[in-house]
């Protein structure tokens, strides 16, 4: 049995799964239920400036019969009284001392507000602080949330205020609503933030109601830009995570990965690209706390299969394999192969290749089943057919190197090798 326990700057949790700062972590009743279910830790829903929320608050993108591929929200930070939150945080720590309790913060944009808030939160016995520099709606108009995260210098200033008083680890949460998360990440680390978490939600409009013509979510006939999360944002989050893991400044601090994590596989991928812990929200909003069982068991079984005794054995392991395009090996060449015994003759590979790729699949008519074969000299090894094929391992990509040696683009150009040979 693999050891899933996690040590994040001394914040210990029995597994790497934390609930992200969001509705599932906004009060004692939820958090105790989460801990009972087995969650490793929580990031308590953001405390700070007093707010009031609207109704409705969420909208979603469904895809091909599946609900909530992506979730959008226009909810603000906690709208409960600060004292009540602090009291409940203290109680949750008392009842579950082995779980991570990190508190998300977003104070009014001045030194005093931040520092007073931090003192109150530290009094609860919380193990860490997460600075919410990411919330993309509502708070930004007031100079908070993403308005801080989008400007590295403002972020640096706020982190400096925080570090003047913080005595427990500080994690800065980054907004993805920037061309790169690295500048703000660097500013936070340079200002003393001991860790980073990413990503917060992505600004979005999930859709427009085709009967009322009003975008979702509808608040009395109007809508507003919301924050998008859930499985749809995972690839974007992984990319941003990798840039943090590869930057010489930000790579020095641990990262808590966030963005569409729904399964143990997602978690393993985030950890392979540098996350020490992972945070989950949308999957729980859709299915409840009970998903923690498979999140842990699946990860543990995979680690056993791969021979990883503890999570640190593989955290960041895939980071060096993401490289610049120009460093890729141009002699590496693969071609598709269709297993006729597995083919169900759906023709999806054919029409994808014919209409959208390199016309590399031969159709031999049959009634009712056509036969499809690869025209190997035409195949560029793009993977499209394999991605489209509904049958596992029916289409495989077979390596047919163009040359023995590693040959990157720079070398290719220097040698004056021929272009456009296909």
């Amino acid at each position: 049995m693999a050891d899933l326990s996690t040590d994040f700057l001394g914040i210990r949790s029995p597994n790497p799964y934390w609930l992200a700062s969001a509705p599932p972590t906004d009060k004692q009743i939820n958090v105790l239920r989460a801990f009972e279910a087995g969650w490793g830790g929580v990031v308590w829903k953001t405390l700070g400036s007093q707010v009031k929320n609207v109704s409705s608050r969420y909208s979603a993108v469904d895809y091909h019969g599946s609900r909530v591929m992506g979730l959008n929200n226009i909810e603000l930070i906690s709208d409960r009284p600060l004292d009540l939150n602090l009291k409940e945080i203290r109680e949750c720590i008392r009842l579950f001392p082995d779980r991570a309790m990190v508190v998300s913060l977003m104070a009014d944009n001045d030194r005093q507000s931040w520092q007073e808030l931090i003192k109150k939160v530290e009094d609860t016995g919380a193990h860490g602080l997460e600075l919410n520099f990411g919330c993309p709606h509502g708070m930004t108009e007031r100079g908070m949330g993403a308005a801080v995260g989008q400007d590295p210098e403002i972020a640096r200033l706020v982190v400096e205020w925080v570090m003047e008083v913080a005595s427990i680890p500080v994690i800065t949460k980054l907004t993805p609503n920037v061309h790169s998360v690295v500048p703000t990440g660097r500013a936070a680390v340079e200002a003393g933030s001991q860790a980073l978490s990413l990503i917060n939600t992505i600004q979005s409009v999930t859709g427009v109601d085709l009967d009322t013509f009003i975008p979702n979510p509808n608040v009395g006939g109007k809508s507003t830009f919301g924050g998008y999360c859930g499985p749809a944002v995972k690839p974007i989050a992984l990319k941003m995570l990798t840039t943090i893991a590869q930057d010489p400044v930000t790579a020095k601090v641990p990262v808590s990965g966030i963005g569409g994590i729904s399964t143990w596989k997602d978690a393993a991928e985030f950890m392979l690209l540098g996350s020490t812990s992972v945070q989950v929200c949308t999957a729980v909003m859709k299915q409840g706390f009970r998903i923690i069982e498979d999140l842990c068991e699946g990860l543990s079984n995979w680690m056993d299969e791969k021979g990883f005794a503890r999570t640190t054995d593989f955290i960041g392991r895939s980071v060096p394999t993401l490289t610049h395009w120009e460093d890729l090996d141009m002699n590496y060449h693969i071609v598709a192969r269709i297993d006729p015994a597995k083919c169900i003759h759906c023709g999806l590979c054919y029409i994808a290749c014919e209409d959208a790729s390199h016309q590399s699949i031969q159709l031999t008519p049959g009634n009712p089943y056509n036969t499809y074969t690869i025209k190997e000299p035409e195949c560029v090894g793009c993977n499209l057919c394999k991605l489209i094929c509904p049958v596992d391992d029916c289409i495989t990509m077979v390596e047919q190197r163009l040359g023995e040696e590693y040959l990157n683009w720079k070398e290719f150009q220097q040698r004056g090798l021929p272009l456009n040979d296909h």
Binding site: H64, G65, I344, H345, C346, G347, L348, Y350, I351, L363, N367, P368, Y369, N370, P390, V391
Partner: protein, 456 residues
Amino acid sequence: MAILPHRLTDPEYAQNFSDIHPPFETRNAALIDANRCLFCYDAPCTKSCPTGIDVPKFIQQIATDNLKGSAHTILSSNIMGAGCSRVCPVEKLCEGACVYNLMEEEPIPIARLQRWSTEKAIADRWPIFQRAASTGKKVAVVGAGPSGLSLAHVLARSGVDVTIYEKETKGGGLMTYGIAAYKVTPEFCEDELNYILSIGGITIRYEQELGRDIRLDELQQQYDAVFLAFGVGLARRLDIPGEDLAGMVDALRFIYDIRANGYPSVPVGDKVAVIGMGMTAIDAATQARRLGAAEVTLVYRRTQEEMPCTTAELDIALLDGCRILWLTAPTAALGENGRLTQLLCSRMRLGDPDNSGRRAPIDTGETVTLQVDMVIKAAGQVPFAGLVAGSGLAQDKGRIVVGPGGGVGATDGSTDRSGVFAGGDCVNGGKEVVDAVQAGKDAAAAILNYLGVTKK
């Protein structure tokens, strides 16, 4: 033992004849299956449909909430797409070809999805087709069955006025009169017919029979072209002693009575034998059971290997408690006081293949005697030989001979007389509704070409 009507109560009839393949109840239910469709290219399901319905397209249109588009996709290939979704032997057509079968998975329920779109079109009278401006051309059709209606709709869309002469009091042909009532109800057949006619330009004259009320040469004089689609006649005779005893009935007549007169009024025996193993034999046997027959035995001279019905149909009969006697052929009907009491049969074995390519049954000399009070004959149907002979058209054993069409197995419906076309069962000897619809489409194209009218 006796042949009696009114064997059951009304609730029992209602239960026995309720929809055997119930429709989806909700959009969600339809979407689960619609979204499972892989959207195959050059799809095997489409290629296995005699009318070539673009199945992946209409299913994707259900998934995108474009139900009108979905109905249009179906009905533009098959105007009786709603009826076909209930009566087609899909397990040997579209659903049988679904690629999921090759993954050992359940195929997409294509018929049920097709019913989802087309029933809404009919119920809400979606005006999917527009009639082109009148061309002034007039075509007469004999028979308001699937091929006649399919042809009429294509012609009406293209601005040709169509008059259909129908010998019965209702349209729809065998869809209305010849198929088990648990597959299509009379109300449904009427709704579908009215929907087809709603395009305008099609008039049906009922109780007009060729050779009795109308004559081919008169129609030729009054119209620019004539399409013969009068179907096939009653069951093939068994040619055994005792065939005229009371209790020997014709399967199509039996089904016709159920469809035309209602369940309670149709007499059925206690112990019934059904001769044959085609779709009509199954429809007769299952309905005999559902009308209250105590014992129904299907008698077939070959084996399951050669049976014309599908396995799904056989399963309906077995689930209804019908007994099957394979390799058994009737040799004589015996009676008392003119009433059937026994059916004598021979046990058969299979010999070498015959003209049909199937192994021929050979009498073993061993006999079986069935105690029966009713025998339903469903060993194939015979053409209206007299009618065809009277028309003077070229024929082959009572089937009208037509010219070859473009596709495999297709015809252009043209007879050896200019301006006279034919299609459906009176040409092919008796096939599925969906085949008749395609024959109507093929002949319509030929007639438009003959009339010099552009197809719309």
